[in-house]
Amino acid sequence: MQIDIQHIAKLSRLSIEKEKVEKFQKEMENIVAMCEKLPPMDGDYTSVDPSNPMQLRQDEIRPSLKRDQLLQNAPQTQAGCVVVPKVVE
């Protein structure tokens, strides 16, 4: 299976160095070939399982994090917010 490494990398927000592209390409193709060993399966797939329903949470407020704790790991902050490169809408 021919994998479009550049396209997949872009979707994943990764960039592969030029020198490594060929190696990655080969490795990915081998791994995908392994994955392709799966035979076609009959029937349909649904992830829904009504026999195991989810317990829902009560709508009760719990304390939030203090802002300085929230931002303590942020690479760059300003005016109580996280800073990112300018986003053009």
Binding site: I8, L14, M28, V32, L38, Y45
Partner: protein
């Protein structure tokens, strides 16, 4: 020394919690350079906690079985105010403002968290060699890998740098290193231990589990961490009783299923022989064997890599340099920041898995890969259910081989993935499985044996493993750490 015996000493006041912690810290001091189990050693916090335990003992308080026991915690489990890196450059400086639920339970049980254990980066690996910080060595022979991804968790217990540890298992990441390092490791039933605070790799497969030197110790730790957590919607709504005290070390009448697919060409002959010989010993104690088949085992690795990578590609997308962790230094715009941060912050194995996951979920490929893998998952679970109608537990080798040499498989991802062939089906089916040491191979390294049970049958696994432990006269032989 096991946790059980140390706990006994504490109760009898034959030693103090501080003394226990200090002696473990000394062992770490002596051993860490050679083994490298830890990313972070929590000396100050550990001693503080030990002092607290001693105060409680002096005040005559009744304490849990884990009080004062030094425990290592895998570095993908969040510990409040203590560095949690997942052994990745991406989280090299991440200090969580919260504890994982299992960590809160450890603290409530007055356990002493001695350090954060090294691992394969983001739990992706079978040898602990993809860690950004260091390569942990196998305490039995430092030229060999300890296994992965919970390599540090297994090594620290094996080398006496901790009495117990917590690891995580997605495709074998507790059982494999347990078997390579000659310790006991349990991957619990999916949903029996809260995942809140475990940095997610594959959400539908991940479970936190205990590693230790004895079955009783592992059962004690499991007892403390298991149970419904309202913060984890996938944690099962059920009551759990005591486990350790109820261990019944008998296999009389136990039907042991031997699946032919796990004793085929993919497994080294010496391993097969060792495991089958252990089965004979169990039969002598009253167990019966049943030949069974798990026909879809051949497809398990494919299904596993599709499902786990798909979920991982989504779970790791949050590492984008915006609000925590590593951010690239130079970039021209937002997309450039994302790409540089993620390319510089992640190692190659992580990138491979992210790309595989993105690929199988991408437009046009979902049906051929992800959907098919999920259908295979249901089939594998079905086959196990059928097998369990004929037997009580299923017994296999934990891995096709013993530990391998450092660097031996790092150039070939598929060769590395092959270490998981005996363990992945268990995660796919959400079942519990325990790995116990069953022999020493001709290369001097431990061989591990795996017992798999139906969902929520941990007690039965402890019983059977406990019986085997008795037969062996205990697992507690720690290797001499080469000077």
């Amino acid at each position: 020394m096991t946790a059980a015996s140390l706990s006994e000493k504490l109760r009898k006041k034959e030693c103090s919690a501080v003394e226990i912690t200090r002696s473990v810290l000394e062992q770490i001091e002596k051993t860490e350079d050679k083994i490298g189990s830890f990313v972070t050693v929590c000396e100050e916090q550990a001693l503080k906690k030990a002092e607290e335990v001693d105060r409680k003992i002096a005040a005559g308080e009744a304490l849990s079985s884990l009080a004062g026991i030094p425990i290592g915690v895998k570095d993908n489990i969040c510990t409040k105010d203590v560095l949690t890196t997942c052994s990745s450059k991406m989280l090299y400086n991440f200090v969580p403002p919260y504890d994982a639920t299992v960590v809160s339970r450890l603290k409530q049980a007055d356990a002493v968290i001695i350090g954060k254990c090294n691992m394969d980066e983001f739990a992706m690996g079978s040898s602990c060699e993809t860690s950004y910080f260091k390569k942990t060595k196998n305490p039995w022979d430092p030229a060999y890998v300890p296994g992965g991804s919970s390599g540090g968790s297994a090594a620290c217990v094996s080398a006496g740098e901790a009495v117990l540890s917590l690891g995580s298992d997605t495709g074998g990441s507790i059982r494999l290193p347990a078997s390579y390092c000659g310790v006991v490791g349990l991957k619990p039933t999916y949903g029996s231990v809260s995942r809140y605070g475990l940095v997610a790799f594959a959400s539908s497969l991940d479970q936190i589990g205990p590693l230790g030197r004895s079955v009783e110790d592992v059962a004690n730790l499991y007892e403390v961490i298991c149970g419904r957590d309202p913060m984890d919607a996938t944690s099962a709504a059920r009551e759990y009783g005591a486990f350790a005290q109820k261990i019944n070390r008998s296999v009389k009448g136990l039907r042991i299923g031997i699946p032919k697919e796990y004793f085929g060409d993919g497994v080294e002959p010496e391993i097969k022989a060792a495991v089958l010989e252990s089965v004979d010993r169990l039969v002598k104690e009253g167990a019966q064997t049943v030949s069974i088949s798990l026909p879809s085992t051949d497809y398990a690795l494919s299904a596993y890599y599709i499902i786990s990578s798909a979920e991982a590609s989504s779970n790791l997308a949050r590492f984008d340099g915006v609000k925590y962790g590593y951010r690239a230094k130079d970039f021209t715009n937002l997309i450039d920041m994302y790409e540089k941060t993620r390319s510089e912050g992640f190692g190659d194995e992580v990138k491979r898995r992210i790309m595989l996951g993105t690929f199988v979920l991408s437009s046009g490929f979902y049906d051929a890969y992800y959907k098919r893998a999920k259908q295979m998952q249901q089939k594998i679970a079905q086959e196990y259910a059928e097998a369990f109608s004929q037997c009580d537990i299923i017994l296999t080798p934990t891995s096709p081989s013993t530990a391998f040499r450092m660097g031996e498989r790092t150039d070939d991802p598929l060769k590395m993935y092959a270490a998981d062939i005996c363990t992945v089906t268990v995660n796919i089916a959400g079942l519990p499985a325990i790995s116990v040491p069953c022999a020493t191979a001709s290369n001097g390294l431990p061989v591990g044996m795996q017992m798999i049970g139906p969902k929520f049958s941990e007690q039965m696994l402890f019983d059977a493993a406990g019986c085997f432990e008795n037969i062996c006269g205990g697992f507690g032989v720690a290797p001499s750490v080469k000077a």
